[in-house]
């Protein structure tokens, strides 16, 4: 914002940020050396982890000295908290805090820019701050249709009259902010609150979402940014990290999120859409607590990648037996592929299963297969032969069987 706001406002607005981001590795005693202003100014501290409503959740610490802020952060760093948002409650660990210069102010304005299918909306209120939901009737909105530009809109006209002399400045600021919003491919941008000081704008808190699909177009504009994990997501395990690495290596897609290592249902499913349906069906049939993970592979991964991905799952799956000695289920599922070569991807899966055959037997794993698409007959035949050769219980089905049938076959067997 420091670089772009002057550009989009013709130099009228600038933004000078005195901000320090504090993570779990930050040495708090070093901060005043690198940022001497923290000792001089009054400060604001808050978590910076992709959630809003920080004031409501008592996670906003305002107008304090560095000593106070340091203690406040130390007390909260790496602590688990449950926050309440409009979408419900989320529990997670606090790891990142922002410390900013406190700007004394008497007015708190609210502005939010949102996107919708056929228009963008500018929301504005003179009653900004933590309780914006409670004064939602003070919020005025301006819709900007997709093929229109902000210049065609009457920005000043939609702002409330109580802004008085500040109306023109606010309108100019919002116009510049909107241009920045569009050009930088934001999908959401909220300044709540912001204030005016001597005719210039001071954002006091901000929430923003960027469209990561635009990272190619915006590489220079955004600079080096890292998309953080959403709040409440556990830190990825070594295995999840490894799969993410495999995913980045190619055009194919490989995903793994662990849910419950004790779960007995493990899905090795091809396709983003199908993988969700397999997980759904496990849940819908009432076996949510048995679902061990969510994952998918798609985009015609090479035999080697499929092998590595399968191995990762088998390793986790065969780590320990079910304490009650019940069988575990490996569901090798998928719809009818458009162009992924089923025989080829199955070759990688079979290599991994061969390597883990003894472990799979020891942990009492039953394998169910359902798949269609290019060369599926050959792929399914290979799976059957593998079962016979290794003496593993493998059941194999093709497109004539409903896609998720193997879920109920496995779960209702017990």
């Amino acid at each position: 914002m420091a670089q772009a706001l002057p550009e989009f406002s013709g130099g009228k607005f600038t933004y000078q940020a005195d901000v320090v981001l504090i993570g779990p590795q930050t040495d708090l005693d070093n901060v005043p050396e690198e940022h001497p202003w923290v000792k001089k100014a009054k400060l604001v501290a808050k978590p910076d982890q992709l959630f809003g409503k920080r004031g409501k959740n008592n996670l906003l610490y305002v107008n304090k000295s560095w000593g106070e802020v340091k203690k406040w952060i130390q007390e909260r760093m790496n602590k688990k908290v449950t926050i309440t948002q409009t979408t419900g409650q989320t529990t997670g660990v606090l790891t990142h805090f922002l410390v900013e210069r406190f700007v004394p102010h008497d007015r708190e304005y609210y502005v939010a820019l949102t996107t919708h299918r056929d228009h963008d909306t500018i929301h504005f209120s003179t009653q900004g701050g933590v309780d914006i939901e409670e004064v939602w009737d003070t919020v005025v909105t301006l819709g900007i249709p997709m093929l229109s530009s902000i210049e065609e809109m009457d920005v000043e006209g939609f702002l409330p009259d109580e802004l008085g002399a500040e109306k023109t400045t606010v309108a100019e600021f919002i116009t510049a902010l909107y241009k920045l919003f569009v050009d930088y491919h934001f999908t959401y941008l909220e300044l709540n609150p912001f204030t005016l000081q001597k005719g210039s704008v001071v954002p006091l808190d901000a929430v923003a979402k960027l469209d990561d699909y635009a990272s190619y177009q915006c590489a220079e504009k955004w600079g080096k940014i890292k998309f953080p994990q959403s709040f409440g997501m556990p830190q990825p395990t070594g295995e999840e990290d490894y799969v993410a690495e495999l995913d980045e290596r190619t055009g194919a897609s490989l995903k793994l999120t662990l849910l419950n290592l004790q779960g007995r249902v493990w899905n090795l499913v091809a396709g983003g859409g199908a993988s969700v349906i397999y997980a759904d069906t496990v849940v819908d049939l009432g076996f949510a607590e048995e679902l061990a993970m969510y994952g998918e592979y798609s985009g015609d991964p090479s035999t080697e990648l499929t092998y590595e991905y399968t191995k990762t799952i088998l390793k986790l799956m065969t780590k320990q037996k079910d304490p009650q000695g019940r069988p575990k289920y490996l569901l090798i599922g998928g719809g009818i592929a458009n162009f992924t070569d089923v025989a080829k991807t199955f070759t990688g899966i079979i290599q991994a299963i061969e390597e883990y055959a003894d472990h799979l037997k020891k942990t009492n794993v039953k394998i169910y297969v359902r798949r269609g698409g290019p060369n599926y007959k050959e792929g399914l035949a290979k799976m059957r032969k593998m079962g016979e050769r290794l003496g593993l219980p493998v059941e194999v089905y093709g497109p004539e069987t409903h896609m998720t049938k193997i879920v109920s076959m496995a779960l209702e067997e017990q």
Binding site: D211, M233, G272, G273, V276, V407
Partner: protein, 615 residues
């Protein structure tokens, strides 16, 4: 064609991108449906024009390639569809351009990763112009009997198995492209099949929504029931529920929203699709399934009985007489692609080419079986590589070293020799590297550089016929042939050529045997008796030592003769001397020398006054 139809049996499309295989799949589908003409009018490939060859049944046809949308549209005003395979970086731009044309009415964006704002702009423009955009992030869709988008519906085998060559009564639409094929399969197994089916793509804001297509199906009297497969996130399914309530959708709709497992997952797990993320409670899968059910859609308990619900709905419509039984058409046979047939081991054919020195078809190219990385790691060097590619042998270190020594010795011999001279003259005439060195190389032969081969040939002949050195010299004289490789302008017995000495010493030290060198030196003893400059020169020494090298490598005399005949020894000279030619070329270019013109005073002009007249 009615407003609510996107394609018919005469639809013509452009393929944007170099997607021959996708286009072939479209043509095979067309052929299977017994269309009169292929559905692909041509390709838009900004990287180049010309044409692609594709099959129409068993016959090969040519389809034009255009380098711009503008060109394509002018050549084929009848084409009203563009299947856009452009990457996510350029998909939006080319789609916008297509929408601005007068004739293209429907664009399908295959790319995944098009920025939201770009797609939203496209959707707004399409709406304004009353056009249709399907995607992005989709495989497309299919209208049985009429038109297939790119790779949709997978293999021909699958299309046959699920009878996608003829229309049924079900209008199908899904979010996921990967699942669309499964959707067609479910419809096929539980009804008379789909009338048409599309995947709108998994982005947050697809250019056309599930509802857009359902409203189209609603208007189409040939569609009797609709099937919709939605996804967690977004409000599209809620709008469908609203459309049912308000009576804009009246046909039976079997619907399911996937992502019911989302509530089990910590934080917000991002599923495979960008749009599959519930930001608010009412966009969760359960909430949307509930809303659809309450509005009157037919919603199963889980995906497991999705097919059952479709069957029930279809059977009821049939019982009511709303759906008439359909006559199954016969389908023509599509020849299998040669490549596929080879993969399945069904055909074979003799090859036209053979290579026994290297193979680039594997993961790492190899030289005579040695992967290139190993060549580098184990330090084969130029000598070792020549061994692999010329001799097909893993040469011992002394042979590699000898070859490299030869290359170094012959690399250049000054600017005056014919090859270097020609190179210089050509470079100065403003020609490029290739022309300049070629004009040098073409002078290499019997008189320039050819002495290596010649010497090998002469001395081998002498030794082979057991001629004593003096007998050999006499025999050559009797034949009136100069012995190749003997004689030097400056060097003599008293003033030996250091280069020759180095090679002889090396050979004596490392070669197990040097029979031809020994013979040549014996011949030298005879010739130097006549004149002390008639010594074994560099070319001669290289020639005889190459023969000795081959003998040491186990080649038979016959094989060595064949190698001499194919110019094997000249090869070493050509390879080495090319280094020098290139040096002369670069030298001239750096010096920016001008066109060379031979001076008059260096030419004897002796032209007769008049030519001899021949009657």
């Amino acid at each position: 064609m009615e407003e609510y139809e996107l394609f018919d049996r005469n639809t013509k499309a452009f393929i944007h991108g170099t997607q021959e295989r996708a286009a072939q799949r479209m043509l095979d589908f067309d052929y299977l449906c017994q269309r009169d003409e292929p559905s692909v009018a041509g390709f838009i490939t900004p990287t180049g024009g010309g044409y692609y060859k594709l099959f129409w049944g068993t016959k090969e046809i040519r389809l034009p390639r255009y380098t711009s949308i503008d060109q394509a549209v002018k050549a084929h005003p009848e084409a009203d569809v563009m299947v856009n395979f452009a990457s996510e970086r350029s998909s939006a731009e080319s789609t916008m351009e297509a929408l601005e044309t007068d004739t293209i009415r429907t664009v399908i964006m295959i790319a995944e990763g098009v920025p939201e704002r770009d797609t939203r702009r496209i959707a707004a423009l399409a709406q304004k112009k009353k056009k249709w955009v399907i995607g992005p992030a989709t495989v497309g869709g299919i209208k049985p009997g009429s038109f297939k988008i790119g790779n949709a519906a997978g293999t021909m085998e699958n299309i046959k198995d699920t009878r996608l060559y003829r229309p049924g009564s079900v209008g199908f639409v899904s979010v996921s492209g990967g699942l669309s094929n499964e959707g067609y399969n479910i419809c096929h197994r539980n009804s008379d099949g789909i009338y048409e089916g599309y995947a709108v793509g998994g982005d947050v804001y697809p250019a056309t929504t599930l509802l857009d297509h359902l409203l189209r199906y609603e208007q189409n009297p040939r569609i009797k029931m609709m099937v919709c497969l939605g996804e967690v996130g977004g409000t599209d399914e809620l709008e469908i529920a609203e459309a049912i309530r308000s009576g804009r959708i009246t046909k039976p709709l079997v619907a399911w929203v996937t992502g019911t497992c989302a509530k089990m997952l910590p934080g917000q797990v991002q599923f495979g699709h960008a749009g599959a993320k519930a930001d608010a409670a009412e966009t969760s899968a359960e909430a949307k399934n509930r809303a659809l059910r309450e509005a009157g859609a037919i919603v199963p308990q889980s995906f497991d009985d999705f097919g059952e619900k479709i069957r029930e709905t279809y059977e009821q419509l049939k019982a009511e007489g709303a759906i008439e039984p359909l006559e199954e058409p016969s389908v023509p046979h599509i020849p299998m692609d040669y490549r596929q047939a080879v993969a399945e081991g069904l055909v074979r054919r003799p090859t036209n080419f053979i290579s026994t020195i290297c193979d680039e078809t594997g993961e790492i190219h190899n030289y005579c079986g040695v992967p290139i990385d190993e060549v580098i790691e184990k330090g084969y060097g130029i000598g070792g590589v020549i061994g692999l590619l010329w001799f097909k042998k893993d040469l011992p270190p002394y042979v590699r070293e000898f070859i490299e020594m030869v290359l170094q010795i012959v690399a250049d011999h000054g600017p005056a020799v014919s090859g270097a001279h020609n190179t210089i003259v050509t470079a100065r005439a403003g020609k490029g590297l290739i022309e300049s060195i070629i004009s040098g190389i073409v002078t290499i032969g019997p008189r320039f550089g050819g002495a290596v081969n010649g010497a090998a040939k002469h001395f081998t002949w002498g030794l082979e016929n057991n001629l004593l050195p003096r007998e050999f010299v006499d025999a050559m004289k009797a034949k009136n042939e100069r012995i190749q490789g003997i004689g030097h302008r400056i060097h003599s017995v008293e003033n030996p050529d250091e280069r020759v000495q180095i090679m002889i010493n090396f050979a004596r030290k490392h070669f197990p045997r040097t029979p031809l060198l020994d013979y040549a030196l014996a011949v030298q003893d005879v010739t130097t008796m006549k004149k002390n400059t008639l010594i074994l020169n560099v070319d001669g020494c290289i020639g005889v030592l190459c023969v000795d090298m081959l003998k040491n490598l186990g080649y038979s005399d016959q094989e060595i003769k064949e190698m001499i005949d194919m110019g094997f020894f000249n090869a070493l000279f050509i390879l080495g001397r090319t280094i020098g030619f290139m040096g002369h070329y670069f030298d001239q270019k750096r010096l920016k020398t001008g066109l060379y013109r031979h001076p008059w005073d260096d030419i004897l002009y002796d032209v007769p006054d008049r030519p001899e007249k021949v009657e």
